[in-house]
């Protein structure tokens, strides 16, 4: 006897699905073949293009003769050519002194091929990546015609685009420094190491002024963001900014940020300030206050340091211990001091601080680490 079999609608559905998924899979394979072919052609073309334009841009460094007629850049080749131009414009450390010689040559080349025109076109019609690339190149060219667009784009929602636009505007007109600092103050999505690159291009005197102005109109979060970059200002205005924030702010995080920024610049005259904040109740303020105190610590401060070396927060204990270690330096008296410390946690913290001092003193720079790696043939990864 034959029982019921799968219903016709189900079979129909399955067949239709197989058909549909087969078509989709086949379409994907066709798309792949198309893309691969296109990519292969584009890549081969780009390799030739890169090779050709590398040798042209290289002449700015080598002093070799340029070809009599520069090759025409096709519409689809601009991305590669502008990216190459930007790379060549960014001087490596060994070429840094040659900026006055190399940059004008590169700039003349760029204007000759119409790079500025295409980059300006992209500022309005390109996608985000093209706009960023154009902004980088136009900033390197100091192209004034791009200034308005750059300022407009610096208000864009996209973090990368707005930062690249601000950088471009800054390169074109140093008067935009104030604007940049206001943006740094207001944008918490800008990658700080990239902001650092930008701020390092600003003359210190301009930066000092702009930072002072920006911090004046900042809310607490903005102040904290700006304080991260105080280290790129001249020491005296930097100290003044930190102290002003300390006078005006009551939020713990802001106070801690101001003290943290003050720490590398701290001197004897900041000792009273450090001691004042060493009595603060918040661990994050204590941590930063101890950083300042470490720079100007005196034997009279031992009691405060010992008290903090027994604090309930581990990191406060460690920072206090670091200040104690800084106080005794290499004198060897630290062992006697530790022997007198009754609190076990304080003793542990001092031992840790001593170990870390040793670790930091022997820390190998990046190039040594790389060399160590390359020294081992099996480690050439």
């Amino acid at each position: 006897m034959r029982f019921a079999s799968a219903s016709e609608p189900l079979l129909w559905l399955i067949e239709a699905s197989v058909l549909l998924s087969s078509i989709m899979t086949a379409a994907l394979i066709v798309a792949f073949v198309f893309l691969r072919t296109r990519n292969t052609i584009v890549r081969a073309r780009q390799e030739r293009l890169t090779h050709r334009w590398r040798s042209i841009f290289k002449t700015a460094y080598t002093g070799e003769d340029l070809p009599e007629v520069l090759p025409r850049v096709g519409r689809r080749d601009w991305f590669t050519v502008i990216a190459l131009f930007s790379q060549f414009h960014q001087l490596r450390d060994k070429d840094r002194d040659r900026a006055r010689e190399v940059h004008p040559k590169l700039d003349v080349l760029a204007y000759d091929i119409g790079l500025d025109r295409h980059a300006l076109y992209w500022l309005n019609k390109g996608d985000d990546a093209e706009k960023i690339l154009a902004l980088t190149a136009l900033g390197q060219l100091r192209e004034r015609a791009a200034l308005d667009d750059a300022i407009r784009l610096s208000a864009d929602d996209g973090a990368e685009l707005s930062r690249a636009a601000a950088h471009c505007a800054l390169r074109i007109d140093v008067r935009f420094t104030d604007g940049v600092l206001e943006l740094v103050r207001d944008r918490d999505d800008w990658v700080r190491s990239r902001v650092e690159t930008m701020l390092k291009e600003i003359d210190r005197i301009d930066l000092d002024e702009a930072l002072r102005a920006a911090i004046g109109g900042a809310d607490e979060a903005g102040r904290r963001r700006l304080l991260d970059f105080v280290r790129f200002c001249s020491p005296s205005p930097a100290r003044a900014v930190c102290k002003r924030v300390l006078e005006e702010s009551e939020e713990e995080e802001t106070i801690a940020a101001a003290l943290r920024s003050l720490a590398p610049l701290a001197s004897e005259e900041d000792r009273a300030l450090a001691m004042k904040y060493c009595a603060h109740k918040s661990p994050i303020v204590l941590l930063s206050a101890l950083r300042v105190l470490r720079k100007c610590v005196r034997y009279d401060d031992r009691e405060t340091l010992l008290r903090l070396a027994s604090h309930r927060d581990y990191w406060v204990r460690l920072r206090a211990a670091e200040a104690i270690v800084a106080l005794y330096g290499e004198s060897g008296l630290i062992e006697d001091f530790v022997a007198e410390v009754e609190d076990r946690y304080a003793r542990d913290a001092i031992a840790q601080a001593l170990a870390e001092r040793k670790m930091m003193a022997n820390r190998s720079p990046l190039r040594d680490r790389r060399a160590a790696s390359q020294g081992a043939p099996e480690a050439r990864l």
Partner: protein
Amino acid sequence: MSVDFHATMGAVVVFIETGLFFYFLVINGYYAFTGSVALFRLPGFVKMHLADPVRRSNSTLDRPVTMLVPAFNEREIIVTSVRSMLALEYVNFEIVVINDGSTDDTLERLHEAFDLEPYEGIYRVELPTEEVREVYQSRLHPELRVIDKANGGKGDALNAGINLSRYPLLFTADADSYYHRQTLQWMVEPFQRDRRTVVVGGAVAVGNASTPVDDKPFSPSLPKNMMQLFQVLEYLRAFLATRMGFAPFNALGIVSGACGLWRRDIIIACEGFRTDTIWEDMEMTLRVHNYCINTGQPYRIAFSPFPVCWTDVPASPKVLYNQRKGWHRHLSECVMIHRKLLFGNGGVFSWVTMPYLVFFEWLAPVVVIGGVIFSLLMAALGYLDWNTQWWLLGLVFMLAMFGSIISILLDEISFTAYRLSQVWVLFAAALLENFGYRQFVMVANLSGLLAWIFRRPIRGNTKYPGLFVAPWVPKRRD
């Protein structure tokens, strides 16, 4: 038996068969959705990188990172691996290798290569672990420290490493993986872009057959071993299609243990890595979701699609079987520990990722293997016709191929890692994996599920909670 019974039985069988059909459709709908999201996002991502690359930065503003490298019997690879990590281009990082009770000479090799001496600092116990015998520091590279401890599993080793770590970001690495020189720069950036970021997962690729080149760590080539070749496809699907698809919705279900960057304070708040589970990465990812959702903390788990980590994958069926068995057992542990997240208040994560994990990953071996047995049996009994079965089988194969080809396409439009000849090999593999490999993996998964249900002890721990584990909820802090 009456005709009525057979008619009823037939209707039930057709109903179940229809359910199976829709199950396969929905599971592949998920893949199609995440694949489409990735197709939409990846080209822009790559172009953006070309326009604005991560530069070799020596900025002291970059947040310092502690790399945690658990090692258990890694004598062959440990020295090479640590050397490659020391060569990473990042301004401020330290490496903590945790020798998790190796029974071979892993520790001796580290001693020999890096001139270790006892560490004079304090080992502070924030997270409880198995006994720590000694902590060493390298005389050659003071930023390298080694913990020698009794065996307690990877989670326990990581916890020991966290106890010794000094920095606010923790990178979990595998001793048998290799990393791109700019791995840390890549992975730290999302933390700077979005303050809510608590974890960043990196993309992992198969590295077995790849040739070391100086600045590009690997020029990708395909393994000759078929088992490994199929895994290349799996990694492409998992990282390019699935994770890239889930990440924009803050719905990443797993951050790979071989390449994850975690905020230290979050791991501590989550009470560290669990030691009573067979693995640790997925559980910690779900725990971070769980913690942030339940405490109302705004958070983001980001994903960096650039392949920065290359790992060796199993070449033998036995090793692969055990690996997958372990993975599925871990998945079982995770869905049970975090069951309250399913259809909970976690938004997309609770309503999309968790159902995906539960219904289409965790229960997949039961549904698929059960479905095949059911269909064959019912067809043999005459309740289903063979024609339908062949069509259903064809559909499953076709949808599987579809998923694989999307991943190959994603690779093509993003990184174009493989040469054309290699891509054809991958296409062939996408077809061939349906004949044995997928079924093999499914059986391994089922075995993992059964091992979990029957609470086979791990690492001699007979108190393995298995099915009866309590759901994890974050402790309220004052």
